[in-house]
């Protein structure tokens, strides 16, 4: 149990670190990738464990804690995405095939973008100026990257699944 918790924190932390240190410094559109969302959705859907939801929510909270996003933006968007991912992975996408995983990753990314847009609508109502065109570009590229990223994660991580199951990442679905 302890090994699993530590590994989960390492995986989630690593994904967040790569997101904010590596991907964020790449030129647009490469910087539009949402690694934590893709990895969280993949992990939750493929392994059947919900640690990925915790990663996404924690990443949102950390973004707000460090002031990397406007106040509340990261947390609210991440909570909505986490709620959707929980619902989708337990009730909608029951298959762990490539198609099931790709669908789950894409819809989770879509929900993240919609939740982010909703938060921005609230900001707009509060009098903040919003760059909708820039946001739409970012969302579009984020969505476009979700497909190849889901396929890459599936191809790269599948061989490690038995190892992960051995250390405690066993599916909670029966």
């Amino acid at each position: 149990m302890i090994t699993r918790i530590i590994l989960s924190i390492i995986f989630g932390g690593l994904a967040f670190m790569i997101q904010v240190s590596f991907i964020a410094a790449l030129p647009f559109p490469l910087s539009a990738g949402l690694l934590v969302v893709y990895a969280g959705a993949y992990f939750t859907q493929h392994l059947g464990v919900q640690d990925g939801i915790v990663w996404i929510v924690a990443a949102g909270i950390v973004s707000d804690a460090f002031g990397l996003a406007p106040p509340g933006y990261g947390t609210v968007a991440a909570l909505c995405t986490g709620a959707w991912l929980f619902f989708a992975s337990t009730r909608i996408f029951s298959h762990r095939s490539l198609y099931g995983i790709v669908s789950c990753v894409i819809t989770t990314t879509l929900v993240f973008q919609l939740a982010a847009a909703l938060v921005l609508v609230v900001f707009l109502l509060l009098g903040r100026e919003i760059d909708w065109q820039g946001q739409a570009n970012l969302a579009l590229w984020g969505m476009l990257f979700s497909l190849p990223m889901a396929i890459i994660l599936f191809k790269v991580c599948s061989p490690f699944r038995p190892i992960l199951e051995r250390v405690g990442f066993r599916s909670e679905r029966l």
Binding site: M1, R4, I5, S8, I9, G12, G13, M17, I18, V20, S21, F22, I23, A24, A25, L26, P27, L30, S31, V49, Q50, D51, I53, V54, V57, A58, I61, V62, S63, A65, F66, G67, L68, A69, P70, Y73, T90, R91, I92, S94, H95, L120, F123, R128, E129, I130, D131, Q133, G134, Q135, N137, L138, E172, R173, L174
Partner: protein, 265 residues
Amino acid sequence: MRRFTVRTGTRNRVLIGIGICMIAAILFFRTSLLVIISPFERVLTATSSSIGSIWTGLFRGAEESARADACEAQRNTFAVSAAHMDELERENTQLRSRLAFTQRTRFQTISASIIMRSITPQSRTFVIDRGSTDGIVVGAAVIAGDGILVGKISSVTAATATVVASTDPSSKIASTLLNHSRTIGLSEGGTASLMTLRYIPHDEPIAINDLVMSSGLETGIPAGLIVGMVNAVHKEPTAPFQEAIIEPPEDIRRLTSVGVLVNSL
């Protein structure tokens, strides 16, 4: 749809455990955690910047990219020299009238590496690996190169500080336009990676490529730091004021290290 049941007891315990550990790590051990991970993040940031240059080179063509980079560096050097000359001239005048020399020398620079960043249309912020133990305070100026203002410290912990870039929509910097009348205004970040110098009366002359510098009217930000160059002027006869669009000389996406100006007195 396949029906399945969930072993809620075990799952909830594990998820709550992971959640508590992650949030505790963030809240209580943030400083220690960042000290451990910042070397890795520095490597990731540097690698990413190199990949960014290659990516830009792919689309521009290697030769054109090198020429553009050289021109950009030359432009920045000229801007720094012009700003420095102007500052020296002004300082000289001030020195002759009163002994204000200390104002120029009371700041010292602390070098810092960027370990996290968020560059989206709604926010342009980054986190550096220096904090209050190094003497960094909220409101301190963050510079790149030889006196190019890139942002201000917005929050600080023992080992890290968050910087709001000058192009962030929430950023406001007291600035001076290097024209004949030394127009004073407020450079505000916008939705694109540009700034706007607002509330300039119509009779103030503004030209493209005029330098914009910090005015020194803000605590923590000395006068003479380069904010940017005038890229366009919006002048509508019906509007009470004209606006200058300012282009910052540095792209924060490319930066890997910065300097923080702290008061040495």
